[in-house]
């Protein structure tokens, strides 16, 4: 449904997105996960036709975002990071306006409005001025405007940001209920959002794709790796170098004063690693096994511990 190929966006010298590629299947919810300023918003702005890419290609439902922007805009519903609301309008006036500019035929506008209000739970707020409603309701209005023309694709930029925990749960539930009928791509910097609502994820950092795939695949691939976490009193630099030299070791990463040593799953190097560490006298304080999961991966990506 959504295909992004080698997408690059530069603002002058600043590279916001670099050589990004991923695919989202029809009817799925995909998360674009990454820390702030990772390039999530830029990617979404390119997909929705707000910004042109510097290089690369993006297609939505077979339409090229750059060649056929109006075809793409017709089938995309977009909730930008800053919800685009006109405070002096009432909720229903605002939604009617959005329906009109999203090319909903005049005869169907009424029904589209009712549907959007129903789905996003805005019944009590429809006659209120947007400037008077709460943050949570504003976010719902934002989702309602993205849904109003019943688009095949929904692009939601940080849909739960700034909401209280109860509202977050409501919005997540709302997003999940839209799955199937709509293909959804949402961005977030919070991992649980992805694990709770999404089918797949593209993790990006500093504009580059760090990992992508369905949640099952990603989790499975990490389970296949084994390794240990070491806590040493001293000699981190030497240990890092020496452990990398150890036959069978695939990677050694360092974060928070700990070393994560990994090797392929068909080996067991625990004994060898322990021997090396004890013999060289780096002051072993702790050695534990930890299966790497998606959380661990994300944490390392954010702290810059994963080398590509």
């Amino acid at each position: 449904m959504i295909e992004v190929e080698h997408l690059t966006k530069k603002y002058g010298d600043l590279v916001a997105v670099k050589d990004l590629s991923f695919k989202v299947g029809k009817g799925k919810i995909w998360g674009l996960l990454g820390p702030n300023a990772a390039g999530k918003t830029t990617t979404m702005r390119i997909l929705t036709g707000y910004l042109p890419a510097t290089e690369g290609k993006a297609t939505v439902a077979g339409f090229d975002v750059f060649e056929q922007p109006n075809d793409v805009k017709r089938i995309i519903g977009y909730l930008p990071e800053v919800v685009p609301l006109y405070p002096e309008m009432t909720v229903s006036d605002y939604l009617s306006f959005v329906a009109a500019i999203k090319q909903v035929p005049a005869a169907k506008r009424r029904a589209a409005l009712e549907r959007a209000i129903e789905i996003s739970g805005l019944k009590d707020a429809r006659k209120k001025l947007i400037q008077t409603i709460s943050r949570g309701f504003k976010q719902r209005v934002g989702i309602a405007q993205a849904l109003i023309h019943n688009p095949d694709v929904l692009v939601l930029d940080e849909p739960t940001i700034g909401l209280d925990p109860a509202q977050i749960i409501q919005i997540r539930g709302l997003i999940k209920s839209l799955k199937g009928e709509h293909t959804i791509i949402l961005s977030t910097h919070i991992l649980p959002e992805v694990t709770q609502t999404c089918d797949g994820v593209a993790i990006i950092n500093e504009g580059r794709l760090m990992a992508s795939g369905s949640l099952e695949d990603l989790t499975a691939s990490f389970r296949e790796k084994s390794g240990v976490i070491l806590k040493l009193r001293k000699g981190h630099e030497e240990a890092l170098a020496a452990l990398r030299e150890l036959p069978g070791v695939e990677s050694v990463a360092r974060h928070d004063g700990e070393l994560a040593v990994e090797w392929s799953p068909n080996k067991d190097l625990r004994e060898a690693v322990a021997k090396l560490v004890v013999e060289t006298g780096w002051g072993l304080l702790e050695m534990r096994t930890e299966s790497m999961n998606i959380e661990e991966l994300y944490r390392r990506i954010v702290s810059g511990g994963v080398e590509q």
């Binding site: 805009k73 977009y78 930008p80 306006f97 500019i101």
Partner: protein, 255 residues
């Protein structure tokens, strides 16, 4: 066309659901009413004096003595007030991030610009239309020539349309509404007084500066003369303003 109207309708609604349109229209009418009253009072006192001499009484012309100065005054009020009407059109969208909604909707940039332009024209037409009601008095107690008055109003509308196009352009340049209004006002004033520079210019430049000056084109209209040269001037001024707006918006997004 339908898209242009969707945008225009929303903008008109915004003008009239916030105080902007009411304040602009009210202040405009108060000032216009004051100028009208002063011109009429002056005409009246002249008439009383002239009444003693039948020859001079024949020379009294309400169009020349009331409407020409009134139209000149209204044009100055428009110069001062229209930038306040146009300053929000694009600046506000950029500041609040709502431009993202517009540009990700299946609309062309041209449709968005024309919709906003049309909305401001509607407010301008309302202002001028309401001020036209003052003529009830002159028609009730005198016999002014209607075609000349209509011509003057047409001139004001065209001039206002040109001002608004300039305002739309400056609004597309900045997120800051005040900056947008100041730039519009400055640019319009400069165009207004451009013919001053023609006094010291010579040859071709004299003609060019004179032609570019807004004031030069309005002068004929207040006297009831409709010249295609002036019509072309205002329409091309407006077109140029909107065209520049289009270029600015497109180039910003491609940066």
């Amino acid at each position: 066309m339908r898209n242009i109207w969707s945008i225009a309708k929303k903008e008109i609604r915004t003008y009239f659901s916030t105080p902007i349109a009411y304040v602009v229209i009210a202040v405009f009418l108060i000032l216009t009413g004051f100028f009208f009253y002063s011109a009429l009072w002056w005409f009246n006192s002249q008439a009383i004096q002239m009444a003693q001499n039948p020859y001079y009484a024949q020379q009294m012309n309400i169009n020349q003595m009331v409407y020409t100065p009134l139209f000149n005054n209204i044009s100055i009020i428009l110069l001062l007030m229209l930038p306040l009407l146009t300053m929000r059109l694009f600046s506000e969208e950029m500041k609040s991030g709502t431009d993202e909604l517009l540009y990700t909707s299946p609309l062309s940039v041209g449709q968005i610009i024309l919709g906003k332009y049309l909305a401001a024209l509607v407010v301008l037409a309302t202002m001028l239309g309401l001020s036209g009601s003052l003529s009830i008095f002159t028609f009730a107690f005198g016999n002014p020539e209607l075609p000349q008055i209509l011509n003057g109003y047409l001139g004001l509308f065209l001039m206002g349309a040109a001002f608004i196009a300039a305002g739309v352009f400056f609004s597309s340049l900045t997120k800051n509404q005040v900056v947008s209004a100041i730039l519009t006002f400055g640019a319009l004033l400069l165009f207004w007084i451009l013919n001053w520079a023609s006094y010291s210019a010579s040859g071709m430049w004299k003609g060019v500066l004179n032609y570019l000056s807004i004031f030069q084109h309005f002068d004929d209209m207040t006297r009831g003369i409709l010249d295609t040269k002036d019509l072309v001037y205002y329409l091309s001024f407006a077109f140029f303003g909107l065209f520049l707006t289009h270029s600015v918006i497109l180039s910003r997004r491609w940066r």
